[in-house]
Each structure stands twice: as structure tokens, then as C-alpha cells.
């Protein structure tokens, strides 16, 4: 414990240095904007801004990107409460009671409780991250190649299981991502694979153009041409103070949302979205007056907001401790670390203590910055929504092209962006989850390396994955999830058309958030 506090104080020394402080602030501002503007989710925002971090140090880059991630969670709630427009999918639940509070003239209180809930959850969950990540990384140091391979397989299966839609579709997308990750020079033999005469593919298909195309361009393609005119209301500063009753009602919801969000965030999948839905359902179930939900219940605002912020910290646990991204956003951040020459994995905390503890401390600082940004300055941010989308999307398109080109100074990356943009657009039209493609692409080199190292250890016998206990347990859990996930398919094949009954929740959320 003493060691943790010492490490944290050295982390604060890093986080409070002017440069890191500046990038944390910039990340929080950009994140708030990304959360506010419908059609630019945190994933697209981080993908688009990733190339801008190449000139920065690894610590500054990660602090900036993390600021965008958790800043978007704060920003998303503002438009949900004031205008019933969720800036991103995790804020869908906040719309229900948040907007109802606005209609009752309690917009200021809803914003304040949402910001305070987000702040408390963000800060407390960082404590969880700080205490959980180092021992988990120490445990993972016992892992050899077979365990690493099994862990990566399990991560992909959990993501596919949690994705909400058809598991077969999610697995197909993960396999597609892994196949795309096979392009380029084989690290073990030096053989140049699947290049089709394009020399620029030697380093493989880039994560940045793929992520920008799949998330950024496809989002523009889906939302372009839609015009929405909304009334913008900005509460006055003195209206921000919640009543004593509202404080009392929201306390428990914030505490429960924090714990729930952190635990759900650790599990691979869209934790920040799922946690807000689960928190809302839990608060409604626990409430003595469930009939108030939908008509301006403060618990329905404070709980989900705390949960989605807490989940962002939870998502960093497997990423920092194991090098396993729990979703597309941590996957892109992992790619950013690799671009800066940092090898993710259990050794990260030991080898890069300045980055790890500086990052942790910057999250404490970032949460304070966001609390300040999202309460007194809420009016300024909301006014940005007056920018017409007809000017916004061409700017995003041009900025994406600039960013993607700047990675390698290569037009091939711009072509990849355009192609994956089209792919993402078509796939999203047909209800496919696209996050597993990016996750597969990021994990493919690590997965292939650990798979081949394992086979080299066992002289080509696949039995090594089931004879080593940790690997066998992880693969066993993965198999159970696979069978559970494919159960509706078998039920449909054998017992009529019961298949595909799993709710297409993410699609509905996306549709709502685009509206």
C-alpha cells in the first residue's frame, strides 16, 4: 500500500507537469466536444485524432487520448439532458429522465448531478484501477505463449458474446479483423504475405486508417444528408444547484453505478454502454417509486452517468495489466502505445512506471478539469451545436484524410480509409458489429506470435493449449460462451424461427444517438 502511494505521488509529479497538464486539458475539452456533437462518437473522435499524437511523447499521447475517452462520457450527457439527443450511445439512458427533468425546469440540477456523479465515479474507479491493475499484471507474468493465446481468444469470444447482436456475426467480424492482420511481413519467417504487389503493405494494414474508415467515415456516410433542427436551452449558473432531496436520492444511485460500471467495464465488450443500461434497470428495480422513472427521476440520471464513467476506468484494467483491450477504444489506445514504441502487456507497469502512474494521476486531474468544464462552461459548449452538420461533416472528412495521410505519408492509407469506410457503412447497414474487426486487427500479430511460439514449444502438438491448466481453463470458459452465444442459432435451426431473438441493442442505440 505504501509502495502504491509512493508510485502515485511520482505519478502526480508527472501529471502535474505543465506539458501533461496541458494535454489532459486539451483531451478533456476535445472529449467534451466529441461527446456533445451527435455523429462524432468517442471512437471516431479518438481514431481521427490519433495521428495528431504522433509528435508527442507516449505519456502525453495516452493522457490526451484517455482525456478524449472519458471527456466524451461527460459531454454526451449534456445534449441528452438539454435536448434529448444522446451525443454517444452510453448517454441514451440519460435522455429519458434527464430530458424529463429539463421539461420540469430542473435542467441545471440534472446537469449538476450528472457531472458530480460522473466525477465521483471517475475518481473512485481510478482507485479501483490503481489497486487492481498491478497485482493482475503480476499474476499475468506467469503466463507463457499458450496462456497468452488462450487469453486473447477468450477476450475476442467475450467481446463477441457481449456485443448484443448475433454472435455468429460478431465472430465473423473478429475473424475478418484477424485475417486483415495477417497482411504484411511475417515476423517469424520474414515472408511478405498477401501484399498483391503493394509494397506499402509491408507493415500490414494500418490500424489508424482502418479505424478512421470503419468508425469515422462510415458514421459520416450514415448520418450525412439528415437535417435536424433542435431548440437549444442553456441553464443559468444559479440553476445548477440541486435541492437537498435530489442530492439524497442520487447518493445511492451514484455509489451503485460506480461499482457496477467498474465491474462491467473490465469485461470485454461495450462496457460503457451496457453499464448505463444495467444501472438504469437496477435503480428502477430498487426504487420505492418506480413510476417516477421516465418522468424525471434523479436516480435515472445519476446512476447511468456514474456507471458509464466508471466503466471507462474499468476498461483500462485489462488493457494496462494484460495488454488485452476490452473494446475498440482501448484497442486504438493500445495501437497508439505500440506506435510510440511501448510493448503492451504485464511488463508495462514495471517497465514504464512513469507512463502508468502518470496516466493514473492524470485521470484524477482530468476528472476535476471535466467537472469545471461541464458545469460553469456548459453554455459555451452547447452553443457549438449551432454549427450546421452540412459544414461539420466535410470538415471531419478533410481532417480524417489529413490525419490518415500524415501517419506514413502514404496515399495507400487514404485508399484503405475509403475502402474500410465503405465496408463499415455496408456492415452497419446490415447490423454487423464493426468493433471486433479493429480488435482482431490489433490483436492479430500478438495472437499469431503466441500461437506459433506455443506450437514451437510443443513441437507442433496442439495439445499444449489443453494440458496447461490456466490456458485450458480460459479456453474452456471461451467454449462455454461460444455455445451459449450460438444457442439461439441452434434453437432456430432445430425448433422453428426462434433464432436471432437476441435484442439488436447496439443498433437501436446507434440509431437513437444519430437521431
Amino acid at each position: 500500500m505504501v509502495e502504491t502511494l509512493q508510485n502515485l505521488s511520482s505519478g502526480f509529479a508527472t501529471a502535474l507537469s505543465p506539458a501533461v497538464l496541458l494535454y489532459a486539458f486539451v483531451g478533456c475539452v476535445v472529449g467534451t466536444l466529441v461527446g456533445l456533437l451527435p455523429g462524432v462518437g468517442p471512437l471516431a473522435g479518438i481514431s481521427l485524432l490519433l495521428p495528431a499524437t504522433f509528435g508527442l511523447s507516449a505519456t502525453n499521447a495516452i493522457v490526451l487520448l484517455a482525456g478524449i475517452y472519458y471527456g466524451a462520457m461527460y459531454g454526451g450527457s449534456t445534449t441528452s439532458i438539454l435536448m434529448r439527443i444522446p451525443g454517444e450511445a452510453a448517454s441514451v439512458m440519460t435522455c429519458i429522465d434527464g430530458y424529463a427533468m429539463t421539461q420540469k425546469g430542473r435542467a441545471g440540477a440534472a446537469l449538476a448531478l450528472s457531472a458530480v456523479g460522473s466525477y465521483v465515479a471517475g475518481t473512485v474507479s481510478v482507485v479501483g484501477l490503481m489497486l487492481l491493475a498491478p497485482p493482475l499484471a503480476e499474476f499475468a507474468l506467469r503466463f507463457g505463449p499458450p496462456e497468452n493465446f488462450a487469453l486473447l481468444v477468450l477476450g475476442l469470444l467475450v467481446l463477441a458474446y457481449m456485443s448484443g447482436g448475433s454472435m455468429a456475426k460478431a465472430l465473423a467480424m473478429a475473424a475478418l479483423g484477424l485475417l486483415l492482420g495477417m497482411v504484411g511481413i511475417d515476423t517469424m519467417s520474414g515472408f511478405f504475405r498477401f501484399h498483391y504487389g503493394i509494397v506499402e503493405l509491408g507493415d500490414g494494414i494500418g490500424v489508424v486508417p482502418t479505424a478512421v474508415g470503419l468508425f469515422g467515415i462510415s458514421e459520416i456516410l450514415l448520418s450525412a444528408g439528415k437535417t435536424t433542427k433542435t431548440e437549444i436551452r442553456t441553464p443559468r449558473l444559479r440553476e445548477l444547484m440541486p435541492s437537498r432531496e435530489e442530492w439524497r436520492d442520487s447518493r445511492g444511485a451514484i455509489a451503485r453505478g460506480t461499482v457496477l460500471g467498474f465491474l462491467i467495464g473490465i469485461i470485454p465488450g461495450p462496457g460503457h454502454v451496457i453499464s448505463s443500461f444495467v444501472s438504469y434497470a437496477l435503480e428502477r428495480r430498487l426504487s420505492k417509486h418506480p413510476e417516477r422513472f421516465g418522468h424525471g427521476a434523479v436516480e435515472g440520471v445519476a446512476g447511468p452517468e456514474a456507471a458509464n464513467n466508471s466503466a471507462t476506468s474499468g476498461a483500462f484494467v485489462p488493457m494496462l495489466a494484460l495488454g488485452l483491450p476490452s473494446g475498440a477504444i482501448p484497442a486504438i489506445m493500445l495501437a497508439a502505445m505500440m506506435i510510440h514504441g511501448i510493448s503492451p502487456g504485464p511488463l508495462l507497469i514495471q517497465q514504464q512506471p512513469q507512463l502508468f502512474w502518470g496516466f493514473i494521476a492524470s485521470m484524477y486531474v482530468g476528472n476535476v478539469v471535466l467537472l469545471i468544464l461541464n458545469l460553469p462552461f456548459v453554455g459555451i459548449f452547447v452553443n457549438l451545436l449551432r454549427i450546421p452538420y452540412s459544414f461539420l461533416y466535410p470538415s471531419i472528412l478533410a481532417f480524417a484524410t489529413l490525419g490518415v495521410y500524415a501517419v506514413n505519408n502514404s496515399v495507400v492509407d487514404v485508399w484503405i480509409m475509403a475502402a474500410t469506410g465503405l465496408l463499415g457503412y455496408v456492415l452497419r447497414k446490415f447490423d454487423f458489429e464493426i468493433a471486433p474487426i479493429v480488435l482482431g486487427l490489433v490483436l492479430a500479430p500478438m495472437m499469431e506470435l503466441s500461437f506459433r511460439q506455443s506450437l514451437a514449444m510443443s513441437a507442433g502438438h496442439y495439445g499444449i493449449f489443453v494440458t496447461r491448466p490456466i490456458a485450458a481453463v480460459m479456453l474452456g470458459i471461451g467454449l462455454v460462451l461460444l455455445l451459449l452465444g450460438l444457442r439461439p442459432f441452434f434453437a432456430g435451426a432445430w425448433g422453428g424461427r426462434a433464432a436471432n431473438d437476441r435484442a439488436p441493442a447496439p443498433r437501436q442505440q446507434e440509431e437513437e444517438s444519430r437521431r
Binding site: 444528408g225 452540412s390 459544414f391 489529413l402 480509409m417
Partner: protein, 107 residues
């Protein structure tokens, strides 16, 4: 081979369960015209970026989208496109030292 087989099996499972899903013809494609134009702009930018330089390419791309697709007045669109192209070039190329392609006449 393992990955290709996984993809094949999953694809067959998607096809098998697809009969109960929504038909392609029933999907709304209202944004189709915009989508084609935006993808066309992406293709133009990929072809023109190193031939005509960053500023000229971005100017033409933005002008095309704003005038032809969004029906903005040409002088508003031209002002916005020119301002965006010059400002981002100055920010990235000059201040942040990100090398961006220069076209003919080093523009």
C-alpha cells in the same frame, strides 16, 4: 487456414439465420446519394493528394461537397473551403511540422 475456416463457418451461420432477418430491399437507403458523393470525394482526395498538393485537393473537395451536395452559395462555400485548407495546412505543416504534400507551384 484456421481463420479462413472460422470466417467461412460464421458466414454460413449468418446466412442460415438470415431468412428471419430484414430483407435488403426493405432497408432504407435515403442517405445513398450523399454516401456515393462522399465516397467519390474520398477517391478524389486519394488520387489528387500527391498530384495537386494538400491545399488544392482539400479546397476542391470541400467546395464540391458544399456547392454540389449541400447547395450552399458558392462564395460561402469557397470562403469556408479556402479558409479550412489554408488554416489546417498552417497548423499541421508549419506549426506541428507534419509534412503535407505540395502540388504544382509548391502550393
Amino acid at each position: 487456414v484456421l481463420l479462413a475456416l472460422t470466417l467461412l463457418v460464421c458466414s454460413l451461420a449468418v446466412i442460415a439465420s438470415g431468412a428471419s432477418g430484414q430483407r435488403v430491399a426493405e432497408l432504407p437507403w435515403t442517405e445513398g446519394r450523399h454516401a456515393v458523393a462522399i465516397l467519390g470525394t474520398c477517391v478524389f482526395m486519394a488520387l489528387a493528394l500527391e498530384r495537386f498538393g494538400y491545399r488544392l485537393t482539400i479546397f476542391v473537395a470541400l467546395l464540391g461537397l458544399l456547392v454540389l451536395l449541400e447547395r450552399k452559395r458558392w462564395f460561402v462555400a469557397a470562403g469556408f473551403a479556402l479558409g479550412f485548407a489554408l488554416a489546417t495546412f498552417y497548423l499541421f505543416n508549419t506549426l506541428l511540422r507534419v509534412p503535407l504534400p505540395l502540388g504544382p507551384f509548391r502550393f
